[in-house]
């Protein structure tokens, strides 16, 4: 045992928190029916080996590549269009929901008044509603409404992602140094001017990085929605998987890797420019 002088008073709580975390997570593992041993059963191993064995070499016939290019462009278009719509909805919502532009907060040391908090609640509620329904559910809904095709994917991404972007933008605006904006508001400037001069210079880098990351997520989401008929790479992967065409799946996964790498590079470039 450690002698009293060398004992860290934080040790007991740490051990207790560790034990508590295991106790809470264990039922979760049971509930999710996670059993890695299934992967090692001979039959399942053989199935997977056959499927992934067909991955090499990736499909590269001319016809297929043309198809792949079109599907990729469609996926990118769906993700980008959806993000633009989401952004257009998210920015005003974030400005309304954020405490950063509260005039009462500026003259009360950062604590907004009761009214100002009450008015922001419904906007937060709308943002929660927008993002609480997964995009795949919206996609299924819109596929019924506007028919099979990319439009359903664009609308689904616009709705879900506007909720996510709005919430995170509002929080980014609140998390940066509020004093520049407060000083401007206290010198008589309007709220939007105070935002552009006081908040945006500090928040731009983080907001851009989050937006590019969300665009990357939108590319992935548009692929998933392709499985339910919203077009693009997802629909092609779905078809190829059904036909057990491993080589085609491999090509499409490689395309995917390239897209994510592009998004990552873009994010780095923008952050470097803005940092």
């Amino acid at each position: 045992m450690l002698s009293a002088s060398r004992r860290d008073p934080a040790m007991v709580p740490r051990v207790l928190i560790g034990l508590l975390a295991i106790a809470v997570l264990w039922p979760g593992i049971q509930l999710s029916e996670l059993n890695p041993a299934v992967l090692l059963q001979a039959e399942n191993r053989e199935q997977m080996a056959r499927f992934t064995g067909a991955f090499w070499p990736p499909a590269h016939e001319r016809d297929f590549l043309e198809l792949l290019l079109e599907a990729t462009l469609q996926t990118l278009a769906v993700a980008t269009a959806g993000m633009v719509l989401a952004w257009l909805l998210a920015v005003p919502a974030a400005l309304l929901a954020s405490r950063a532009l509260s005039l009462s907060a500026a003259s009360r040391g950062g604590r907004p008044g009761v009214w100002s908090r009450l008015v922001r609640l419904p906007v937060r509620g709308v943002l929660i509603f927008l993002r609480s329904v997964p995009e795949i559910v919206w996609a299924l809904l819109f596929v019924r409404a506007v028919g099979l095709g990319p439009t359903a994917g664009v609308l689904a991404i616009a709705i879900t992602y506007s909720g996510m972007l709005g919430k995170v933008y509002a929080e980014i605006f609140e998390s940066v140094d509020q004093r520049p904006a407060h000083a401007l508001l206290q010198a008589g400037s309007g709220r939007l001017a105070a935002f552009f001069y006081g908040i945006l210079p500090n928040a731009a880098s983080e907001a851009v990085s989050y937006t590019v990351y969300r665009w990357e997520c939108a590319v992935r989401a548009s692929v998933v929605m392709g499985f339910v008929g919203a077009g693009g790479l997802g629909q092609q992967i779905d078809l190829s998987m059904r036909m057990f065409a491993g080589a085609e799946v491999a090509s499409m996964l490689l395309t995917f890797l390239v897209l994510v790498m592009l998004a990552d590079g873009l994010s780095r470039l923008l952050r470097w420019r803005l940092a």
Partner: protein
């Protein structure tokens, strides 16, 4: 010299108090500041000098008492009318809150956001609409060469001068300054205070500055207000400030006797926070 009879009060406080929870920052202060008057506020650290200036700037609302700025009660006005009133009051912050990535030119021009519409404010972000104006304000403070530098690259004293330039560019009817020279060397501090005073005299605006350096306050300002524990201890012409008054103002029972600072010496360097 007796200061002229206050013709028109641009700031009038009557029994104004400000409490942060249980802390009483300003306690029943009554004072009037006339058009064109130049006033220094001195007092020990934590006496409530900044809180008093923020009250006058309509930046914080008094917990009780009455405040009139330019003949209007700011906290009885609608939000829009209060913003218009605020545009006529300029506050120089002790550590000017400027985004590190903002360029100096933008930070200075932001002084007139209260007067510009949103369209002009946004255009100004794309292309600075009054570079000569910003350059002139900075040149008076010896910073014209920093016009297109980012604020994050400036030192504390340079930032303070950018803050002063912003308020000069704002052209308010009342200039308030919260320890405006605390991060500057003695020569610069003297120059900047002289500039503020010259500017106030030339344009006839009221100037109220809180200062830690007693010698600067006495040298530059005709009227001196001593604040201790949130109350006005004395309010008199600079000539009437005696050693006894200063001793009473800065007396500190918490410091060990014999190691305290002698506040009466004219060249005393009080700790600046």
């Amino acid at each position: 010299m007796t200061s002229a009879v206050p013709s028109e009060a641009v700031i009038a406080l009557q029994g104004a108090s400000l409490r942060h929870g249980a802390v009483r920052a300003v306690e029943g202060v009554t004072l009037r500041i006339a058009q064109g008057e130049r006033v220094a506020i001195i007092g020990p650290s934590g006496a409530g000098k900044s809180s008093l200036l923020h009250l006058m700037a309509t930046a914080t609302r008094p917990s009780s008492g009455r405040l009139e700025v330019l003949g209007q009660q700011p906290w009885a006005l609608s939000t829009g009318a209060r913003q218009c009133l605020r545009a006529q009051v300029g506050l120089v912050h002790q550590a000017p809150p400027l985004p590190p990535r903002q360029r100096v030119v933008t930070a200075v021009l932001a002084g007139r956001l209260g007067q510009w519409g949103l369209g002009r404010s946004l255009l100004n972000l794309l292309y600075p609409c009054d570079v000569p104006g910003a350059r002139q304000a900075l040149a008076e403070l010896g910073l014209a060469d920093k016009l297109f530098v980012q604020c994050g690259q400036l030192s504390g004293g340079q930032l303070q001068r950018v803050g002063i330039a912003r308020v000069l560019y704002q052209q308010p009817r009342i200039v308030l300054a919260d320890e405006p020279v605390s991060a500057m060397d003695p020569v610069l501090a003297d120059h900047s205070l002289a500039l503020l005073n010259r500017h106030a005299q030339a344009t006839g605006v009221a100037l109220v500055a809180s200062l830690h350096a007693v010698d600067l306050a006495l040298a530059h300002f005709p009227r001196v207000i001593g604040i201790r524990e949130g109350r006005v201890l004395f309010d008199c012409p600079a000539q009437a400030v005696t050693d006894e008054l200063l001793q009473a103002l800065y007396a500190n029972e918490q410091l060990v006797a014999g190691r305290g600072v002698d506040a009466t010496s004219p060249h005393v360097q009080l700790p600046r926070c």
